[in-house]
């Protein structure tokens, strides 16, 4: 197979995948009797057309960065963590317990504590599948998927039976104290000049950026990251080198679960202000697509998360202003996953001849 230049590998292939997914979606929109061009305009406008739109796009992107990074860390160890959804919901539980436990004096302290809580709970939820994989050889794809269902059921039970304040009708925790409210972009000095309307994007976005740097340092600068990548590339070679499979699987899955759990700081603490059912809203699954499209590299994940954030927000606007159902957003996401993940090789084969000719001359 022809080796593509790096820029084509990193930018052109994802772009073509995206265009293909868009083209098929456009056909569906046509069949629904709407104008694809108008729909695209509404989506783009709704996602990036104004600071207000960006305020939502960045909010979604924040969650996707965390879950994307989580999936990527496990992926580098050869573990396919599909349990981001459950780990994120458990992370939400951690956030809620921390926020409700003490009368926090200031949001900064609460944020630090809640982040620890979110990461610990997310990691704990990944720990059991990780342990089963490391010690018993169970496949994490199977176990983490099952743990998503267990997480959902556990959260519902907790919300209905344990955490719901007496007298409250809906299955949710009590509202967190006002002091735990994280600053959103329109209240942050400097950013408030751009974001004049109330938006959900909040300081967690900057934690997500730090997490990108942290994951990069971990994977490409630390010894643990070296061992994770070596193990992920070749288990037999890792065995020769004396890299412990148990250690690598546990460490990578715990970090992965922790990162997925961290996304709940964004939505549970930063936006909802209480823990609701299905708080993660599929962000754990989107994280898989984000990691795939971002080539499991923090920079790629950041860009892919922005894209998926925009799709998510733009899709919502489309559902609001056109007769195209909001589910088209799912179709578009699904197609992007299909093209970037499953059909990646097909896209490469399509563009390879153009590069081959140039190389031969």
């Amino acid at each position: 197979m022809t080796r593509l230049p790096k820029w084509a590998d990193l930018a052109l292939v994802p772009l073509i995948s995206l265009l293909l997914a868009g083209a098929i979606s456009a056909v569906v929109v046509l069949m629904l009797g709407e104008n694809p061009w108008e729909t695209v305009k509404i989506m783009v406008d709704g996602a990036v057309g104004s600071p207000y739109a960006w305020g939502y796009t960045l909010y979604y992107a924040t969650s996707f960065i965390f879950t994307g990074l989580g999936v990527a860390v496990a992926y580098h160890a050869g573990q396919f963590n599909i349990g981001g959804e459950g780990q994120a919901q458990l992370g939400g539980l951690g956030v809620a317990l921390v926020c409700l436990a003490l009368p926090w004096p200031h949001w900064t302290v609460a944020l630090a504590a809640a982040s620890v809580g979110a990461a610990l709970f997310g990691a704990a939820w990944a720990a059991i599948p990780a342990w089963l994989a490391a010690k018993r050889g169970s496949h994490v794809v199977i176990t983490t998927i099952m743990f998503n269902y267990i997480a959902a059921a556990l959260i519902v039970w907790l919300l209905v039976e344990v955490l719901r304040p007496t007298g409250q009708m809906d299955p949710a925790t009590a509202r967190f104290a006002a002091a735990t409210k994280l600053p959103t972009f329109q209240t942050i000095p400097g950013l408030d000049l751009i974001f004049t309307k109330k938006v959900p994007a909040n300081v967690t976005f900057f934690i997500a950026l730090l997490a990108c740097v942290g994951v990069w340092l971990l994977l490409w600068r630390s010894r643990l990251g070296y061992e994770i990548r070596a193990f992920g590339k070749s288990e037999s070679a890792a065995r020769y080198a004396g890299i412990s499979p148990v250690r690598v699987i546990m460490a990578s899955m715990l970090i992965s679960g922790g990162l997925c759990g961290l996304m709940s700081v964004n939505n549970v603490m930063g936006e909802a202000g209480r823990l609701l059912q299905n708080s993660s809203e599929g962000a754990g699954f989107i994280g898989i697509a984000v990691a795939l499209m971002g080539r499991n590299h923090p920079i790629g994940i950041f860009l892919a998360a922005l894209l998926f954030g925009a799709l998510y927000q733009g899709g919502a606007e489309m559902g609001l202003w056109t007769s195209v159902p909001i589910e088209l957003r799912l179709l578009l996401q699904g197609l992007v996953i299909l093209f970037t993940g499953a059909l990646d090789t097909m896209v490469r084969m399509m563009i390879a001849p153009f590069f081959r000719k140039r190389g031969a001359q």
Partner: protein, 534 residues
């Protein structure tokens, strides 16, 4: 005997049967060119092979032999050139076309279904129709005929997994003959065989030749070329540098043609001066996950300043021995390293062995010794990722220091291309091995375990690698060498231990033994049995 071929010898065609006016060559390649990106794998290759001959193609790894055969078998399409089979221009776009043209190929790695019988494997892909009964019956009759005609005796109902490697190879040959091949290509056929099995193969090949079949033998072993071929072509860097009649050449001349300069075929080394005992193994036994005993009470020792060679056909426990000593397989028994017992439980790992002064060049560098997707510099730290000089602080590794160390190793071990950032996958076999060797030898270990040091390594690099191993010995270190290449064992080691079926069959001083005796031991025949047979 001239040292280098004259121009007329270079032009010589492979036609020992006269001028070939009456009989067209079985295979004629005209001006075959093939490039992979910037790499010219085959440059204007022309060759004529007369029917009823055995023609050898010899060359270093990466010389373009495999590419040429892949073109002939339809795996690759040549950029330019023509294939003429029995005087008729025959384009070969795929392997089906090759089979139709009467070309059969025996690959280095057999393409057999392990849990199918011989018969089922033979008809696989050549069934007469959807119902197997008729095909199987027809194949059974045909196999009987082939077995009689070519003296290739294989039980048609035996399962492949129960057959020895030599028998499996015969099944591959039968497969080709069943498909009416009259041109047979064998790619490195003796790599996995015992000397006795190799002899058997050569008898079969000679028989095929008598029956008028044409054989193309691809190998890097000069001895085989001299023993069996009628004519030989030498390839170097994608070019056919010479085609000569085997009777008119010598191993030395062929070796020089292969590498383009004079090479030392034998390792020059002074007699060993063994010192204290570095490694002592007592009653070492290994049972694998399936409950099969792989090592059955091994006793051996290696002293400082000597190279001990473990000879044996692949799969007789050598790999397990290296894995146990390398720290990643559990065993029972006792192993003393510099007088201290090593942990043989499953808790042991490669790192504790490295701390004990053992360095290990594993048998399979692709599976174990290297991470192919990692850059050269990342591979230099492999296994030594916790070495203090590679750390920047408690949290981060010092990548710059590793890169700097890699540059030094690349220079000292003449790794080409000298690019520390190139993924290991991008280096040739010899250069990959040099990276592993540099990493392990420069740790200055008390004991070097080295498995198949020159497997898939070109002649130029073999010489270099052997020199380095001898240097380590001369520096007073102990070396335990495992190799399936008897030539290598004989030329490198000071003492030879032969393994068969998880046991030690015998031990000889290299100076006091020969290939024939070791070959018998490798086949599991004890001295008394050898005597009885002789």
């Amino acid at each position: 005997m001239t040292e280098t071929p004259t121009p007329s010898e270079r032009q010589a065609t492979a036609a020992p049967l006269g001028d070939g006016a009456a009989v067209p060559p079985a295979i004629e390649l005209r001006g075959i060119c093939k490039a992979f990106g910037p790499v010219q794998a085959n440059k204007d290759i022309s060759i004529r092979v007369m029917p009823g001959t055995i023609h050898g193609i010899i060359g270093e790894n990466g010389a373009g032999k495999s590419t040429l055969m892949s073109i002939l078998y339809g795996f690759y399409k040549a950029d330019a050139g023509e294939i003429v089979i029995h005087g008729k221009a025959t384009p070969i776009p795929d392997s089906q076309a090759a089979i139709r043209a009467g070309i059969g190929m025996v690959f280095q790695h057999f393409k057999l279904v392990q849990n199918f019988t011989v018969l089922e494997n033979v008809i696989l892909g050549a069934e007469d129709g959807p119902w197997l009964r008729r095909s199987l019956a027809r194949a059974r009759t045909e196999l009987k005929r082939l077995a009689a005609e070519y003296e290739i005796d294989v039980d048609p109902d035996a399962r492949i997994e129960d057959l020895s490697v030599g028998h499996q190879q015969r099944v591959e040959i039968l497969k080709a003959l069943y498909r009416q091949a009259d041109i047979l290509i064998l790619d490195e056929p003796t790599g996995v065989l015992t000397p006795a099995e190799a002899d058997h193969l050569f008898r079969i090949l000679a028989h095929l030749r008598r029956q008028g079949k044409t054989v193309l033998l691809i190998t890097h072993k000069l001895r085989e070329i001299m023993e069996i071929t009628d004519t030989v072509s030498v390839m170097r860097r994608g070019e056919m540098t010479a085609t000569v009649a085997t009777a008119e050449t010598s191993p030395r001349q062929l070796a020089e043609l292969m590498v383009g300069r004079k090479v030392l075929l034998h390792v020059e080394k002074a007699p060993a001066t063994p010192g204290r005992e570095v490694l002592s193994v007592r009653g070492l036994s290994v049972t694998d996950a399936a409950g099969v005993a792989r090592l059955k009470g091994i006793d051996l020792n290696v002293r400082a300043g000597e190279i001990v060679g473990i000879a044996g056909v692949a799969g007789n426990g050598q790999s397990e021995l290296l894995e146990v000593l390398g720290g990643y397989a559990a065993a029972t028994g006792e192993v003393l390293m510099n007088g201290t017992a090593l942990d043989l439980s499953a808790r042991a790992d490669g790192r504790s062995r490295r701390r004990a002064g053992i360095a290990h060049v594993p048998e399979d560098r692709h599976r174990e010794g290297l991470i192919l997707d990692f850059a050269a510099w990342e591979n230099v730290a492999f296994g030594y990722q916790d070495a203090p000089e590679y750390q920047k602080n408690a949290l981060l590794m010092d990548n710059a220091a590793i890169v700097a160390d890699t540059r030094g190793k690349i220079e000292r071990f003449d790794v080409r291309p000298p690019d520390p950032f190139l993924p290991a996958r991008g280096f040739s076999g010899g250069n990959q091995q040099k990276i592993v060797l540099a990493r392990e030898i420069e740790r200055n270990p008390d004991l070097l375990l080295i498995g198949q040091p020159t497997r898939g390594v070109d002649i130029g690099a073999i010489e270099f690698i052997h020199k380095r191993i001898v240097e380590l010995r001369d520096a007073g270190k102990a070396v335990l060498l495992v190799s399936v290449e008897l030539d290598e064992i004989l030329s490198l080691s000071d003492r030879v231990i032969v393994m068969f079926d998880g046991r030690i069959m015998g031990e000889r001083l290299t100076a006091e033994t020969d290939e024939r005796e070791l070959g018998m031991l490798m086949a599991g025949m004890t001295e008394t049995a050898t005597g009885a047979q002789a």
